[in-house]
Structure formats: structure tokens, C-alpha cells
Symmetry: C2
Subunit: 518 residues, 2 copies
């Protein structure tokens, strides 16, 4: 399936025409659309999951969970849209006596950027595809959406888009609200087109970099939000291993094996102190031998994932000093598809250091390295040495270590280093499984993302598709609703400036109240 140049031209024109219409919709109308999309996805769940299973090899349980996540995500963005805090409305009253001379009335809000191109992910055929998190935040922001379908699940993408387009047509919204394109060439051509005002992407560092360069080299450059590769380092203290080696072993295996390791937050490097490394590895092996261990063979998502995985795992295994913790398998079926069970290897720190170009990069799939760290090695410098940028960084502490007061000790330096090199710092947990909430941060320094000043998961994700605009001395009739003065009558006797954050005001007003400098 490939979108032709002529088809693309028509699609882009539809998107451009839809832009002012969608921008003019009030947030409640945008929210209604998101809710209707969630409902429609729920209704079509069974047939869509069946297609996804066939196209991706992911399990029905996993895919059903993903659909639920996608539905919850759409509803959460609907709530966020109505709440209106993302508009961050600010009002500076005119001040004739301002220290720098008379100051005008200034009111600032956020407007949608315009048509956005979203490159769907291979590993989340629902949650980061046609109606996934990026799409939800683009629509919540009021931008027309063009989804570049991932080649790994074209039929599912087409079917999901058809569901969405029915909802859009039923509500009388413009055809250009949500459209889908197929093929790499069409994706690149769309990204180059002046009508596209931003790009979103979830995928490999290699592919993401090519597209980021396209976005940056346009006559008019646009923001490109790419979520790329991540190693997700984990550190475990000796005390934590002594306290709960079995739980740590079980958690590690589950986190590496889940979704066949094809998650951007899969822990790729686990650092454990040498004196307790044997104890930890024994626990990992015990977890792998347990009757309910998640070590079933899985089909990898697509040819490219399988090829890269096979080469990377073989290269790592061939290095002197690298020992198996769990010896996984990899094979091809009669269609050339790759199938794998988890491979976990043990690597002394010195070997990681001498073979970092092979061992320290992300391997997408059910693969992870346990790094044996000599006693008394300062930990924070290891983060700078091996992690350029990562989505997450994890630290497992003992209960005693967690309860100690703040200090300038090695553990606090390690946490600072993890915060400097990643977007989410976890304690006593595993990085896979990303909650979709207001405080979530899914993004980190390059190569985890192309722009680490934003997030691609959580409600803050929608701010990526907005730009601030200020109105100076505007007559009320020309102001967006969230910037107008509200009379006592409209607010049921409560003026914005006196409202507490928790009260239920109309959208926009609440944030305006919090920010007003009058």
C-alpha cells in the first residue's frame, strides 16, 4: 500500500483546509470528538485486535490491554482539553505607571500549530499508532492529523482510520481532521510539505534522525518530536540484593521479556555490585526456571527488528568474557520471520568498557546485559560514561537506604546523574509500563528523543502542538474566550482572581485565575 503523490497532494490540501475549522472548535467540542473516538474503538475492539494479532505477532492479551490503554488515553486527553490548563492563559493588566513606561493590556494563550504528521510505531499498533497517544494529543491541541501508517500493520491502520473517519463524518467535522498515508516516500514528501507544521515519530534512532534532518532542513523548519532509542540503565545496590534478590530477579526477567522486549523502556543495562552479582544472577535464573516464567517464544514485530536483533545478540555473545545468564533462542520460520526467547548475558564492567560500541547500544527485543561492577566503583560516572541520553534510569535501594536523610553521598550523586541523562528516574520498580498521567515524562536527552524539552506520553504531550500568541489591547470581541474578562454573573458570583485551584470553573478560566497578574 503506497500513497501516490497526487493522493498526498489532496490529503495535504484537506488538512490545510481543516486547520482553521478545527482551531475554531471550542475545547468541549474537541473533547467530544476524542470521547467518541474512544467509544468507537471500544466497539470495534474484537475485529481490530484480530487483525493486529495477525500483523504483529503480539498476543491477544497484550493487544487487548493496549486497546484499553488507548481508550483511556483518548478519554484522558478529552478531560485535559476541557480543563484547558494547557492553554496557560496569562493576563497582564494595562499599567500606566509601569517602571518602563505605560504598559498595554497583554493577554497570552496558545493556538494549534496546524496540520501535524504522525509517524506511527511498530511496537504499539494501537497506543502509538492511528488513534494512539501522539494522535490524541494532536487532535486535543486542535490540529489536523495525518498518520503515516507503520509498514508492520497496514491493514490494522487502515481499519482503525476507517473507524475514526466514520466518527468524524458523523459529527460533521472536516474530512481533513484525520487522514492516513502509506509508504516511506509519502511520509518524507509530507514532512517536506509546507502545509505540515510539526512532526511526531516513535521508532529507531536511525530512522528518526533521517526524518529529524528532513524537518530541520526545510525552507521553513518545523519542530520534530522523535522518540528514538533508549538503553534504560538500572542500578541495584548490594543492600537491595541482600534484602530481596528473588523479587529483583523476577522483576528483571518480566521487564525484559514483556512484549518480547520490544519496548522503548526495556532495561538494557543492569549494573550490580560484583560481591552480590552471583546472588543476583542465581535469583534471575530461578525466576527464569519458575513454572510461570514469561519465557515463551515470541515472533518479533517485523523483518527489520528480527535482522537487527539477530546480529546484535550474536555479536554480544561472541565477545570474550561475556557469559550467558539465560541462554535464549532465535530462529527463523518458513516465512523468514524471526522468533526469540529472552537472552540475558553477564558482562564484567571492563568488558563493557572495551566493547562499548557493541554492548552499550540499545538492542530492541528480549535482550539485556547484567554488568558486574567491581566493589567501590563510583556509580554516577558510569552513567555519564555509558548513557548519552535515555528515556528512563532506575535505582533499586534497600529499605534502609531509601529511608536515610538526604546527603551528598554516592547514591544521591547517582540519582542526579540519572536525572541529567534521562527523563524519568524510577525507584524500586521497572521502567516498562508507562503510566499516562499529568506528571508522566517520556522523553530524555538525545538519542532518547530529538527534543528533550517535551514528553510524548502523559497529558503534557499536547503542548508540543501549540504555539503561544499574545493579544495586545484587544477589544473583547476579538479575544479568544479564555482571555476575555468574566463577569461575576458568568462565574456564579466568583471572579477568577479569587478562585481556588480546586474549584470547578469553565475551561480556561481556572488557569487564567492562577496566572493573572492583575
Amino acid at each position: 500500500m503506497h500513497t501516490t503523490e497526487a493522493e498526498l497532494g489532496t490529503l495535504l490540501e484537506h488538512a490545510a483546509q481543516a486547520a482553521p475549522l478545527l482551531a475554531a472548535l471550542t475545547p468541549p467540542v474537541r473533547a467530544d470528538l476524542l470521547l467518541a473516538l474512544a467509544d468507537a474503538l471500544d466497539e470495534e475492539r474484537a475485529p481490530l485486535v484480530a487483525i493486529a494479532q495477525r500483523e504483529t505477532g503480539l498476543t491477544e492479551t497484550r493487544l487487548n490491554g493496549e486497546v484499553t490503554r488507548t481508550i483511556v488515553q483518548l478519554r484522558l486527553f478529552a478531560d485535559e482539553t476541557v480543563a484547558g490548563a494547557f492553554l496557560d492563559p496569562r493576563i497582564d493588566a494595562a499599567d500606566p505607571d509601569y517602571v518602563l513606561g505605560a504598559r498595554p493590556d497583554l493577554r497570552r494563550t496558545h493556538l494549534p500549530l496546524g496540520p501535524v504528521l504522525n509517524f506511527a510505531a511498530s511496537n504499539f499498533p494501537f497506543a502509538f499508532s492511528v488513534l494512539g497517544g501522539d494522535s490524541a494529543s494532536i487532535l486535543a491541541a486542535g490540529c489536523p492529523l495525518i498518520v503515516k501508517a507503520h509498514s508492520g500493520h497496514p491493514e490494522l491502520s487502515q481499519a482503525t482510520a476507517a473507524v475514526a473517519q466514520r466518527v468524524i463524518a458523523d459529527r460533521g467535522l472536516p474530512h481533513g481532521t484525520l487522514q492516513i498515508i502509506f509508504g516511506q516516500d509519502a511520509g518524507v514528501a509530507a514532512l517536506r510539505d509546507s502545509r505540515i507544521r510539526a512532526g511526531a515519530f516513535t521508532g529507531s534512532t536511525h530512522g528518526g534522525r533521517i526524518l529529524a534532518d528532513v524537518a530541520a532542513s526545510r525552507p521553513a523548519p518545523i519542530p520534530f518530536y522523535g522518540e528514538l532509542g533508549s538503553v534504560n540503565p538500572v542500578f541495584i545496590t548490594a543492600d537491595a540484593v541482600e534484602e530481596r534478590a528473588d523479587a529483583l530477579g523476577t522483576g528483571y526477567v518480566a521487564s525484559v521479556a514483556g512484549s518480547a522486549g520490544q519496548l522503548c523502556t526495556k532495561p538494557g543495562l543492569l549494573f550490580v555490585p560484583a560481591p552480590v552479582a552471583d546472588r543476583f544472577i542465581t535469583a534471575v535464573r530461578a525466576a527464569a526456571d519458575a513454572p510461570d516464567a514469561p519465557l515463551a517464544e515470541h515472533r518479533l514485530l517485523n523483518q527489520r527488528v528480527a535482522d537487527t536483533y539477530e546480529v546484535a545478540v550474536q555479536a554480544a555473545q561472541a565477545i570474550d568474557g561475556v557469559d550467558p545468564v539465560i541462554a535464549g533462542s532465535f530462529r527463523r520460520d518458513e516465512n523468514g520471520q524471526g522468533w526469540a526467547t529472552p537472552t540475558l548475558l553477564r558482562v564484567p564492567l571492563a568488558v563493557l568498557r572495551s566493547h562499548r560500541e557493541i554492548l552499550a547500544d540499545e538492542v530492541f527485543g528480549p535482550f539485556s546485559l547484567v554488568i558486574d561492577v567491581p566493589e567501590d566503583t563510583p556509580l554516577a560516572p558510569l552513567v555519564s560514561e555509558f548513557i548519552e541520553g535515555s528515556l528512563t534510569g532506575t535505582l533499586h535501594l534497600s529499605a534502609d537506604e531509601a529511608a536515610r536523610p538526604p546527603a551528598d553521598d554516592d547514591l544521591h550523586l547517582l540519582v542526579d546523574a540519572l536525572a541529567t541523562h534521562s527523563g524519568r528516574v524510577l525507584f524500586d520498580g521497572w521502567p516498562t509500563g508507562v503510566a499516562v498521567t499529568p506528571a508522566q515524562q517520556h522523553g530524555g536527552p538525545w538519542p532518547a528523543t530529538t527534543l528533550d524539552t517535551s514528553t510524548s506520553v502523559g497529558t503534557a504531550a499536547l503542548t508540543r502542538f501549540l504555539r503561544p500568541v499574545a493579544y495586545q489591547d484587544a477589544p473583547p470581541a476579538f479575544l479568544p474566550p479564555e482571555l476575555r474578562d468574566h463577569t461575576d454573573a458568568e462565574q456564579g458570583g466568583t471572579t477568577p482572581a479569587r478562585s481556588a485551584p480546586g474549584e470547578s470553573l469553565s475551561w480556561g478560566t481556572r488557569a487564567a485565575a492562577a496566572r493573572s497578574t492583575r
Copy 2:
């Protein structure tokens, strides 16, 4: 003056070393530094203004005003730092019953990006130079600052940096807090260096684009916030001309002539309905003939500005159908410096259309075009036709037009078009003179800025130099202060969740209260 490669290496190392130290400073300590810099600048005002006058040709009055603005700006950022709202702290309590499965405790704040390189502007030797708005927001964010001095005022830059460095040394802050470099090569080399984590720039579209491309093509790309070229269209209705032609004429002349037109917000294209064009132009000429008209000859900032100005004005004047409104002058003095008085030309819309490559681009200097628009021409499409992106867009209405209720009429479509193509929409005012306040927006679609999702003036400017980080299930001792729970005792009996926005809480807590989803 040129910074050598060896010197640059040392400077970058100092900046990198300062990064964790500055990040660890509490906001009140950062604010104290900004206040001390403001005080020091005020104390050294007279000698610095004398150097600036000699180097830039700007008047003493203008430069003194600029120093005051710079001081106020530093103090405003100090306030903003202490208030802490820019940290946007968000707290999602753990939820064992969350619809997608048990949810961890997640707390999100913003950390400084690390060392930032700021390319100073030619036209604001104080307000957008060593201690200008970008520098203030970089320091407020907690980032080490390297200023690339503008070649138009090297001695002033050196002297200002010396003042700042004394303040920094006196307070025992790291040497790498604020450093200065000279020369284009050093600037580009620094922007390429992996230790630099963001760039800020104020200058020409040509220069800004080269640097934006450098930032985007690094092995690890970084955000580059460039404030480039802007045409700043102005529309005046026939009713407004009939109501107050004289005031409009005076305002226009003053806005074009101020600072010899060397402002990024100078109105470059003014659209006026043909039936009242004569009336308006008569008023402009009367304003120019007034005894206090601001038409004195000024030296242009530097050779490059003078060269570009001379060529652009001659090219415009040579076009058939272009008529002088005010015939300005341009000459070279014995040192080759350019001196100019304002030139305003009248251009029929059809001529603008047929010569847009000469007439529709920004001309930096005291030059502007009055465009004669045939009666009944729809106005909104003119914005899309001639303005790709602009810092500002202005509309002058009559009192009656301003008082009318909202409608889908031509004027509202025009305002929507101005909002789509610019960052600030003004009514009945002139775009020069940019208030530094929380609601200010100084940034617009390319080529006005390289990233129109941010502002370079106003307190929101400091968010450009921050990145979000979430902490998951963190023990309190490992949380940044703004993410910790606050006990009743600490808050004097007030828990965050019950606090109203106006109350005086410790920094961070206020915003946390507004955002907490517990």
C-alpha cells in the same frame, strides 16, 4: 578580538563544570545573583553607556532607557525564579485501583538543560546582549551561560562581562557561570561542541539559519532559539483613518523612526484602504513636518546593516509605481559608516504583488511601505499572501468597529490570519516597544523565529532552557524540594491542596498545589 580554540576549550570546560553546581542552587540563590547583576549594572551605567554610544551610534537617551529595561528585566526574572511557577511541578499520587492497573507515585519538575550559548544582538547592546533578556532567562533557569559577543560592540560586551564576573566571583559562584567569547569561528565551534545544550540568537534570518542548521546537524542535535526577521504588517481600516488620521500618522512615523528603525518589531508594511490613502499619507507627511518629528539623521549600527539597507532602499525606490511619502536620505561618512533619515514609500497593492521579492522582505533600518489596497479587497488573504511569519501583526480600528460584537466578518478573519502568522496581535498601537511581562509573546512562525513554540521576551522565555524530569516512587530524600510533600508545620498550617493562588507559599509549592492531582 577573537577567542582562540584553546581558550574556547577552557571556557567550555568551565561551563560544563559549573552546570551541576548551578543546577543545585536553590531558586532564591539564583534570584539573588540576578538582583546583584542588576545592581552592578546600575552602578556602572555611566561608563558602560559611554562605550555603547561610541560603538553603536545609538543615542544616550535610548541607551539609558535600554539599561533601565535590562535592569528591570533581570529583577523580573529574579521574581519569576523565586515564584517557581516555571518548574510546573506536577504530582500524581499512587493509585492501586487505576483503570489500567496499579499506578506509581509520579512527580514531575523541570531541570536546567546545561550550558547555553547566547549569540548577542547588534541592535540591543544591553537588553539582548551580555546581561540581556536571553542571558537573564538562561541564568534564571540555572544554566551556565556563554555569550558570543556581537562584533558591533565588543568593548561594551567585554566591560559588561567584567562587571558580571566580579559579581559572580564575589558571591563564590563558579567561574563558568557567565563567560564571553568573540569571533564568528568561536561561536560556530562552541555551538558544535557537545557540552553546549542549547543556543539562543537574535539577528538576521541569514545568520540565524546558518546557526540553526549547525545546531540541528550536530551528532546530538540541540534546540536553537533564533529570533530572526520580521515584517510586522499593520492594517488600518478606513473608519480608523477617518476617525484619527493625524494620530495614526504621528504614531507610524515614530514607530518607523525610533532607534533608526533598527528594531525587529518595526512596522515594515502598512496596508491602508485606497479611498483613504491620500488622507492617511497627508497625515504622515504632516507628522514628518512637525517641529518635533523624530527624523534626525542616525548612524546605522554597523557596516553590514548599512550595506543591506542601502541596497534594499535603492531597489525599492527604482520600481515603477513606487512613490515617496517621506523622501529620506542615506550617506556614508569618512569612515564608511552609513547615516540615514527615514524613507517611507507608497506602493499600490498590484506593485507589491509583482515585485514581492524586493518589497515584501524585512528591511532593517528606518524604512517602511504604505500599501494602497483597492476598496473591497478581502484583507485576511493578504496576510497569507505576503506574511510567512512575523513577530507581530497590528490592526487599527475605529471606536465603533472595536465595540461591535463578535462576528464572522472580514475584520475577525483578518485577526485570525494575523494570529496564525504572528506571535503578537496588537490593536490600535504600534509594535515597537515590547513590554517584558508574563503574558508577553515575542516569537512567531518562521522566519520570525526558528521555533515558534516559545518566546524570547517576557518571563515565559526561561522555559526554553529547561527539560522535564519525572521521579517515580522516589523516597523523599531523593526528591527535589518542589516535589516533596509539605507538612502542615512547614506551611504554617496551610496544606498545599487548600491554598489559593494568591497566597504567599514557598517557591514551587504554589504551583504544585495548583497541579496536584491527589
